[in-house]
Symmetry: C2
Subunit: 309 residues, 2 copies
Amino acid sequence: MKEIIVKCPGTVANLVCGFDILGLALNEPSDIMEVKLLDEPKVIIHNRDAYNLPTDPERNVAGVVFLSVMEKVGGNIGFEVTIEKHIKPGSGIGSSAASAAGAAVAANHLLGNRFSSDEVVQFAMNGEKLASGVKHADNIAPCILGGISLIRSIHPLDIVSIPSPDLFVTVIHPQIEVRTSDARQILKQQVLLKDAIRQWGNIAGLVTGFMKNDLDLVGRSLEDVIIEPVRSILIPGFDEVKRKCKEAGALGGGISGSGPSVFMLSRDEPTARNVESVMKEVYTRIGIDFYTYVTTINKKGVEVVEKQV
Amino acid sequence: MKEIIVKCPGTVANLVCGFDILGLALNEPSDIMEVKLLDEPKVIIHNRDAYNLPTDPERNVAGVVFLSVMEKVGGNIGFEVTIEKHIKPGSGIGSSAASAAGAAVAANHLLGNRFSSDEVVQFAMNGEKLASGVKHADNIAPCILGGISLIRSIHPLDIVSIPSPDLFVTVIHPQIEVRTSDARQILKQQVLLKDAIRQWGNIAGLVTGFMKNDLDLVGRSLEDVIIEPVRSILIPGFDEVKRKCKEAGALGGGISGSGPSVFMLSRDEPTARNVESVMKEVYTRIGIDFYTYVTTINKKGVEVVEKQV
């Protein structure tokens, strides 16, 4: 019986001006999943954490992914998984994507890597759909591939890896709930053309800055005139945190995914640590509990860390 | 008395999905301007072409640029210019931008290159404002700098050069009039968020494709779901030309500037020539006169080609 352990990184999607199209992978936090290939068509899920996620495969993000792989492959195969979550569900740093991506990568590995990376992303997207109601890939793709991913298009799927500079990422997860569906609902269906133009100037600047390793340009381009002004009202203290983090030297940042986590990019670790202090200070004063992470961009994506045959 | 000759390239602005933010310079056609520095505060304009453009400095694109330089510098300086236009006014390939950029670069050169390239762009934008009523830079910047320019922002001015692959460009200028102001007026002030997202995915893909020299990605990203569907109705035969050019091997393309010229990018010269044949065939059948150009991306921008001191 084949068994592997996969390490699945947290991710930041909706990268400021890159709403729905740009995401990056983090070195911290990450989930651990132990996955066995079974010789009968069933999915068994164990949780080794305190989050009480459903163990019914049809209601579990990883479960749905395994089922979709089984449907594709057919025959007498199944999966048993033990999930150890460190990425808190609802944090906005890709908790469900980590489970979905981990399941897809693990299943593919156990089946002899028979699927292309696009196919693995497609399997994982089935899990994301269960979690958020929408098939999106801006957490899934960086989680699987590492680094910064551009999802140029979902139909047809077109994922492009963007060479990423060695940036530090500070994340604060204030302990409030922002439901992805709510965060989507408050967005306006229409936007001003002039705002859209400003946004696509920033997107082009951000991608160019990443690829040229021009961090001043990255900083200037980290501006979202469309989504952030609407969604940030769901996150107490957002404007203050952002302003103070930039004063503390952050290149810029914004809402991670649909929140409530907020992330900031910095050139170096001391700055990223200063940014963390500023974030903690604001939320301590406001009186909202939080977790923080100071980490770097994960360039590997989901890792298979141990095998037993 | 100092005198120089400058060669000012035509440009393609509104580069498909890069409306208002991306432009590229062409090796053909280009204007020639002979410019002398005078020791009295006046601007003298001669035309050496058949376009009968105004020679009153306040009503001439180059004149306005010279006047703005003189206002900045002060003292007893002026300019005498002879303009030989090869970029037909109203063609949509940056005729006014060439005059404006040529005047700004020439003036700066004659004054000992005392201004930064951003300042030179700013001077030239005064000329563009006279021509189109709007201060935009997506023709000016590539005309001055060469290659592909991103105008991330106009206020403040933020111009970024995008490394450009060696692409061939086919341009057809159908002899119809599309006024820039009309082309602007028919645009909707509001766009669907989902279209804007698709557009910024394409922008990011296009820039990444240029920088990675991934021409398949460039081709997939050359899609404009916002401006082209509206503006293309002003250009007879547009949809047919575009479809047939892509069938003939073009990576893609669209309306140049606000039209009526249509441009297509190709990997190599034979393809670019096939694309030209296809364009000619369609407009011959429709019965609209045209000019065509098969050229490459100009990587130098405005050139000072001869000096006499």
